[in-house]
Symmetry: C2
Subunit: 337 residues, 2 copies
DNA sequence: CTGAAAGCGCTTACAG
DNA sequence: CTGAAAGCGCTTACAG
């Protein structure tokens, strides 16, 4: 790139100090310079196409107006939608966003945090994988402003914005019960991820409160490195035997997708034989030929609140804020024909 | 945040100059210092949890190891998938990615470019909206390394990686012709976006080559601020009248989605009455209850080549490279039952 | 060979 | 009130 115009170049041309140019262009201490001189400086700056070097400013001010965003995978529609909301909210405050994908890998997540901090981001928005407590604790010790989003660690007193996953799962199961289901199964990932633990807890609690069976055989957990065969096997087990389930809660998007794809091939009628509730909206089921319900997350609020909370932490370092938003149960009928 | 450890702190503790610490930690000119001293410096640095301040380094080296990515909307699955590929490729070379969404708005795109350049990104990957030629020309004049992806401007000699949209549309139409279609319509956006112009050109060329009608009434163009009613009206026109179309090419993802949703409600049988080809894969049609074909873009190649090309431009400033990749025609049958 | 100094492009506390 | 100087945390050309 060709050499850029600096404050010094403007100062020389106008015949003043770089300091004065800086004051004028930043609209600071306007009173120290005559309107005419200020005007002249601005004109020369514009004429030379001056653009500030944010890197130099950042070094001096110790502020980059950049936030780091780490999600598990930016290609996942849930996270890319979230990223977009964060981008827009950040932009309104002159912040830009660096993003990274952790792939649910704690070690990678740690490296990404370091990389972002090396780049002096002003704060972080994280949707952390399991087993990252130590990283989060270190951030706290270093007093790095950050907000967890979607996931959080119940034992750590950190800012977070997430769904009330317990309540949402509870609500989902109650919907199945009200629809007449008597044996309700759940398919989830075998993981420590707190939000999925909460969904499990909500599922079990709802069953118990309504005096329905909550046995081990109704709850299937598959490895998070999704494999279609494992999911199919789990569903097969739930649907076969003398007492097949008549209601099924999928704890996550990808599980629902894989599961419903499989169920579509079985001689099982939805909703007569089986009723379904998923977590999260997904375009992929837009044309699913049977009715189901899903828990819709307030994505806009999630992203906006997380961003605002982060900016507040950066600027004022307020008390810890923990927000659990309500999910909404949405009923979806197949497209008309 | 607490004050960070700097090279100076390490230098003082070890009793050497900051210069030497810098040399050692960067593994440069190793010969100028004894193995023992180097070892000691490294130990002290590690002991103090030293992390480099990239902002300071960037100011000095004039390199940020950051690339700016501007797409029309990061929440669009096509672009978030692309972003993920770019992220991974960039990461392998120690680059991070700042992303922004232009919303197909040329003015916004211009502002985003300025913001990214102010932040001294080493280069840009852009999927530009229409009417951005002037911005692109300015980048060339300023000798900013950049690569256009997905879209480009035929009259500008810039790096780009894109689909051969003309060829892909041609292929799509030939597929319909081979399947027996005699009256083939197209639904596209009313836009100057070059890639869509190319698709239109391919559509028309294929029809002419096969001596099929290519009349104005077969080609429908709707405003890019997608509105379902306008799309429905256009499709209705194509399918009604004395000579309804028996083949239909959707020029973009969103059009196909809206269009197929509508067609699903009509007494039109696919493929008996109407055959369909779309552009781009989309999960949303996973369960569409009728067969169709689509043009699959080599997304991985697109992203990887764009990133590599950009890194080459940054490091060596080679000749302009223009790449048009082939799309693949994929046939999709409805899920089994 | 090696150390100390200059300088990247800004901001702002401080001396006059 | 205003100008010139110091300094953010690095890298590296250069003097010795």
């Amino acid at each position: 790139m060709e050499r850029k115009v600096s404050l010094k170049d403007i100062a020389q041309k106008v015949g003043v100090s770089t300091a004065l140019v800086s004051y004028v262009l930043n609209n600071k201490r306007e009173n120290r310079v005559s309107k005419e001189l200020a005007q002249r400086i601005r004109e020369v700056a514009a004429g030379m196409n001056y653009r500030i070097n944010q890197v130099a400013r950042s070094l001096k001010t110790n502020k980059t107006f950049t936030i780091g965003l780490i999600v598990s995978d930016i290609a996942n529609p849930f996270f890319s939608a979230l990223a977009r909301i964060i981008e827009d909210e950040a932009e309104q405050h002159q912040y830009t966003v660096i993003f990274s994908s952790s792939d649910e890998n704690a070690a990678k997540n740690g490296k990404l945090i370091d990389t972002l901090l090396d780049r002096q981001v002003d704060g972080l928005i994280l949707s952390p994988p399991a087993f990252c407590e130590d990283q989060v604790i270190r951030l706290q010790q270093q007093q790095v402003p950050f907000v967890l989003v979607d996931r959080y660690f119940p034992d750590l007193k950190t800012n977070y914005v997430a769904l009330d996953n317990y309540g949402a799962a509870f609500k989902a199961v109650e919907h199945l019960i009200e629809s007449g289901c008597k044996r309700i199964g759940m398919l989830t990932y075998d993981t420590e991820l707190f939000h999925l633990q909460e969904r499990k807890r909500g599922y079990v609690a709802a069953l118990k409160q309504h005096k329905l069976p909550a046995t081990k055989s109704l709850l299937k957990e598959v490895n998070i490195r999704v494999e279609q065969p494992a999911i199919e096997k789990a569903i097969h087990q739930l649907l076969s035997g003398p007492e097949p389930v008549d209601g099924l809660l999928f704890a996550a998007n990808n599980l629902a997708l894989a599961g419903l794809r499989y169920i579509r091939t079985l001689p099982v009628h939805i909703p007569r034989d089986l009723r379904i509730v998923n977590f999260d909206e997904t375009e992929a089921l837009d044309f699913y030929p049977a009715p189901f319900a899903y828990i819709q997350q307030p994505l806009g609020e999630l992203g906006r609140l997380a961003t605002r909370l982060l900016l507040e932490s950066i600027n004022q370092r307020p008390a810890t804020t923990q927000i659990n938003l309500d999910g909404q149960l949405v009923l979806k009928s197949p497209m008309p024909f």
